[in-house]
């Protein structure tokens, strides 16, 4: 079976349990089991070859550009781990089927479990370190889901997050380490990397890479000081603990150390970092385990301790130690999984995992007792069980290892840890199963059905078989895997019970006897232990995360505090700074242009402009006054445009000015007319400083630009030359707008159209909310005068509006050749209608309105677009124009140009947009029942006699009068 399929099967299998859960829990579990079984079978097909020392590979180029490829290989090491992962996985699936309660979503469980299984298989089969990283992080993610499976338990959530944070961060460090490694070697393929020991260890980046990769391994394998997450992960359902913390997740770190052993090990750095960490972890875990009352916590710390043991072995860097490590991996997986499962059975049956509440179960649960006892004795290192064998090997290796020239440290501490290990193992047996029967179990306990005990029983069987017959049962696998780790000639070793009276044997005896002694003294030791100050890892971790979160919150909220003026100030200051930097790092030439002289009129204009601008700043709290002053500025700016040969700009500016001012007045009607003092003097000074610097920047920049000639001929020379020839118009600005750069104009009218739409939509939204009630009941800023539609205004408008329309038409028609054009015409016409609005009021006017603003905008855009599209019929690009002349005797010739049609679109869009915007704003002031019957309030000619009340002739029918 292809390695791809073996790696993919668990993932494919993950889909089904979730879907099949509707068909029942058995279906779901069977699907999960089947997937594991198929993968396991596939693995076993390769067993003969692998045990012969061959390496099975499968390669697929996923992302060759990066070197991230789906390359898999199966060697002895991978085979050992894959077998454990899949084999124990099947047992867990069986066990979980009976362990989980009716309320637990089992489909989800199996999905997560298989995802995790797939990730683990992926890690051990990867022949590409980037691919390995992918699976590595996947185990963090899937274990997060598994640990947090019981989402209603706070402990589960926190444990899951802690596990993710710790192992995930290690994984991130590993990314860096792996990238460095790949960089040194020039490939991310493991098989290549493993050939390059010399290059790697000679590289100056060896130590960083080593540290980063080990960080990943240590966090994953719960090595001190990252060991604290593991006990908290025990909040997960027991099948999860049994799986993750015996054979799989925590072994991933071990696996990787073993995997990289050929290229990373053998240096002093490796020895001191890895061996020391392993040693410390082994001791610390063992000591803590003895004092844990929670069965699973006890097992968790024992796991920490045993992982430390394996790590230490790998850290020794000797070949025999590596063999011992491999062997202990197998042994630990078997007895620890069995222990977790038996602890789960106890929990399941008695309702508690607290050792203090247990005891005397041997009579009530004999099967469980048998399983647990054998497994625990193996863990304690009692012959003839498998735990004894590998522990012997460990002690033997420890005895021969010196640490900083000391012959004592490692053997001493190893014995010390073994002693504690024996003690907690004995405690597990004696305090749970031995002793008198109790009356106060939460549930009356009895042995479960075979569904629950079958899995641990199989494992315990292995424990015994390996112990008794290690060379044949475990020998081939251990050899094959050790060979893969060592990468060369295997050292001489023999897996057997009796090696003679070796130092290890004495050390073992000391450990077992000492362990019994410790168990006897447990009560007293516990008292001492409880008085010792010991840092609670969870509290520290929580505090760190809490500080991190608070700090993040403080930084985030402090930085993004919603004060836009600060945002703007930062942006402006930054812009000026960067701009100045860019300027200062370049060179500037001397002025090349003779400046224009400044006669009196521009000087007066300048005085007025600057005076008005300063006055705006001074009086800006008086909003109406500042509007008036803005009008002055606008007037002078447009005069300046006029003066400086830009008549089109002047026309546009002044018309836009008026409409803008009307919009502002309309909105000011609903807003406060005064701005209160909000800023301190300090703030004002700061703002003034920023403003002045920015002003100097803008002014200085334009001055520097204006006094120099263009370095190249500008493209507008072409526009001047071709405006008439190619565009048919003499007003070059207009021809640019509707022809050369008509596409800009197309975008521009769309902007305007969108603006109107937005305004309309916003008005709808506001008016359909409860703002409406506020608007209806609001009082005006100040008392209103009578006579809202004075006769003179109305009469003058009757004449002015048609004339204004005429002017609009004129501006439109001449635009192509003289200052003007569709845009200005649109504004002028809009203002003409606005005049009518102001004269006779909104309701009266709107009733007589014959066109719809939405449609006007739409037509405008469509006509403009259609003009552009018309060119397609001649197979010319969008907006290609044409023009010509018509001759109707006796009239003179008329020019026609498709650009005029485009300009018509502009005209309509502008007209519609301005009117829609004004219309939307006007609706804010609308009051129900105001039906204005007449265009003017006072009209002595009117037939109807005046109604008493409101205005003489006004029919302001408010409320009841309608």
């Amino acid at each position: 079976m292809s390695l791809f399929l073996i790696a993919a099967l668990p993932f494919l299998g993950a889909i089904f349990p979730g879907l099949l859960i509707r068909a029942g829990r058995n279906a779901s579990a069977s699907a999960a089991g089947l997937a594991s079984f198929l993968a396991f079978t596939g693995l076993m097909i390769h067993a003969p070859a692998v045990l012969r020392g061959e390496v099975v590979t499968a390669r697929f180029d996923w992302l060759p550009g990066l070197g991230l490829n789906a390359n898999f290989m199966l060697d002895g090491l991978g085979f050992l781990f894959a077998t454990l992962i899949l084999g124990i996985g099947m047992l867990i699936i069986l066990y979980a089927r009976f362990y989980l309660s009716r309320h637990d979503p089992m489909g989800q469980f199996y999905t997560y479990l298989l995802l995790f299984q797939g990730a683990m298989v992926g890690i051990v089969l990867s022949d590409n370190i980037l691919l390995l990283l992918v699976f590595w992080e996947l185990t963090s993610l899937s274990s997060f889901l598994l640990i947090g499976y019981w989402k209603h338990l706070p402990a589960g959530r926190q444990g899951a997050r802690m596990a993710l944070a710790v192992t995930g961060s290690g994984g991130l460090a590993m990314i860096a380490g792996m990238l460095i490694l790949g960089h040194i070697v020039g490939s991310y393929d493991l098989s290549v990397i493993l050939q390059n020991k010399e290059a790697i260890q000679a590289s100056p980046w060896y130590l960083p890479a080593l540290l980063l990769i080990l960080l990943g391994c240590f966090t994953k394998s719960a090595q001190f000081p990252f060991h604290f997450w593991l006990p908290h992960a025990m909040a997960a359902p027991t099948p999860v603990s049994a799986y993750l913390h015996s054979a799989t997740m925590v072994k991933a770190g071990i696996f990787l150390m073993a995997r990289m052993w050929p290229v990373l090990a053998g240096t002093p750095e490796w020895f001191y970092i890895v061996a020391t960490t392993g040693l410390v972890t082994m001791v610390v875990g063992a000591v803590i385990a003895l004092f844990k009352d929670d069965l699973k916590a006890l097992l968790a710390f024992s796991t920490v301790s045993h992982l430390g043991l394996i790590t230490m072995l790998l850290g020794f860097g000797t070949k025999v130690a590596a063999v011992a490590a491999m062997f202990h991996i197998v042994n630990h997986a078997t007895f620890k999984a069995a222990l977790f499962m038996s602890a789960g059975i106890v929990d399941h049956e008695t309702g508690t995992r607290d050792i203090k509440r247990l005891g005397g179960l041997r009579h009530l649960m004999p099967v469980t007792f048998g399983i647990a006892t054998i497994a625990a004795l193996s863990m304690a290192g009692i012959p003839p069980l498998n735990g004894f064998l590998s522990k012997e090997m460990m002690l033997e290796e420890a005895f021969h290892t010196t640490w900083l020239d000391s012959h004592i440290v490692i053997p001493g501490l190893a014995v010390f840890a073994a002693l504690f290990s024996a003690a907690y193992s004995f405690r597990y047996i004696s305090h749970v199963f031995l002793g008198p029967k109790r009356q106060d179990y939460p549930h009356p306990p009895h042995d479960p059905g075979p569904g629950l005990w079958l899995s641990p029983a199989i494992l315990v069987f292995l424990v015994v078989i390996i112990g008794l017959n290690s060379a044949t049962v475990a020998g081939p696998v251990v050899s094959a895997s050790a060979q893969a780790v060592i990468g060369g000639e295997l050292p001489y070793f023999k897996l057997k019970l009796w090696h003679g009276f070796t130092p290890a044997l004495y050390m073992s005896i000391i450990a077992v006897l000492g362990g019994l002694l410790l168990l006897g003294l447990h009560r007293h030791l516990e008292r001492v232990w409880n008085t010792l100050p010991r840092p609670e890892a969870k509290a520290i971790f929580d505090a760190v995360i809490d500080v991190l979160t608070r700090l993040s919150r403080a930084v985030t909220d402090g930085l993004h505090n919603g004060v836009i003026s600060r945002y703007a100030a930062i942006m402006i200051a930054f812009t000026v700074g960067i701009g100045y930097y860019a300027y200062a790092t370049g060179t500037t030439g001397l002025p090349t242009r003779v400046p224009l002289e400044a006669p009196i009129i521009p000087i007066i204009g300048w005085i007025c402009l600057v005076g008005a601008t300063l006055a705006i700043m001074w009086f800006h709290r008086n909003r109406l006054l500042s509007l008036v002053l803005i009008g002055v500025v606008g007037l002078i700016v447009s005069m300046a445009f006029n003066y400086l040969s830009a008549p089109d700009l002047a026309l546009t500016q002044i018309s836009v000015e008026v409409v803008t001012m009307i919009l502002l007045l309309l909105s000011l009607n609903f807003m406060p007319t005064k701005t209160p003092v909000d800023s301190t003097t300090g703030r004002k000074l700061r703002d003034a400083a920023i403003s002045i610097v920015a002003g100097l920047g803008a002014g200085g920049l334009i001055y520097a630009l204006m006094v120099r000639d263009f370095a190249f001929p500008t493209i507008s020379g072409y526009h001047l030359a071709n405006s008439y020839k190619g565009g048919g118009g003499t007003n070059v600005v207009n021809v640019i707008l509707v022809d050369f750069r008509g596409f800009d104009t197309f975008g521009e009218i769309i902007v305007l159209g969108i603006a109107a739409l937005v305004i309309f939509a916003l008005a709808e939204s506001v008016l359909s909310s409860n703002v409406r009630a506020y608007l209806l009941n609001r009082k005006p800023h100040w008392p209103q005068s009578g006579d809202s539609h004075p006769m003179m205004m109305v009469v003058v408008t009757r004449v002015m509006m048609p004339i204004a329309l005429m002017v609009g038409a004129y501006i439109f028609f001449r635009g192509h050749n003289q200052p003007g054009g569709g845009f200005i015409a649109g504004l002028v016409v809009a203002i003409a209608f606005l005049m009518q609005y102001m004269a006779s009021g909104y309701t009266w006017t709107i009733e007589r309105q014959r066109f719809y603003y939405h449609a006007t905008i739409g037509w405008g855009v469509l006509i403009a677009a259609a003009t552009g599209l018309g060119a397609w019929f001649n197979d010319m690009p969008f907006l290609t124009s044409d023009f010509g002349y018509l001759h109707w005797p006796p009239l003179e010739e008329f020019e026609w140009a498709t650009a005029m049609l485009f300009d018509t679109g502009v005209f309509l869009a502008v007209l519609g947009a301005v009117l829609l915007a004004l219309d939307s704003l006007s609706r804010f002031a609308w009051q129900p029942g105001i039906q204005q019957e007449y265009p003017m309030d006072i009209n002595p000619q009117r037939d109807a006699p005046p109604v008493p009340g409101p205005g003489p002739d006004t029919v302001i029918a408010v409320g009841k009068e309608t």
Binding site: C608, G611, A650, I654, P780
Partner: protein
């Protein structure tokens, strides 16, 4: 001769514009300010026509005309705002 007259008139209207600005800034009521702005607009129209006269061009005519038309609209809008609050009712 004519040039001197033009410059004289320039000076007169220039001074007028500045007086209007002075009035806008210093007046105590908004009405006067609006009035001053309106006057300023009218003076500006004169200045523009004058400038066109000086240069012998008609290019400023449209601007002057549009300003004459639109100055009215904005003045009315200001006044309506002060009288009624709502300028389109």
């Amino acid at each position: 001769m004519m040039d001197y007259a033009i410059y004289f008139t320039f000076a007169c209207f220039g001074a007028a514009v500045m007086m209007c600005l002075w009035r806008i800034i210093t007046a105590d009521g908004v009405g006067t300010r609006v009035l001053a702005l309106d006057t300023m607009v009218i003076n500006t129209i004169a200045l523009m026509v004058l400038y066109g006269l000086l240069l012998g061009t008609e290019i400023f005519f449209e601007a002057a005309m549009i300003i004459a038309m639109l100055g009215f609209v904005s003045t009315v809008a200001y006044a309506r705002f002060m009288l009624r609050g709502n300028i389109i009712e």
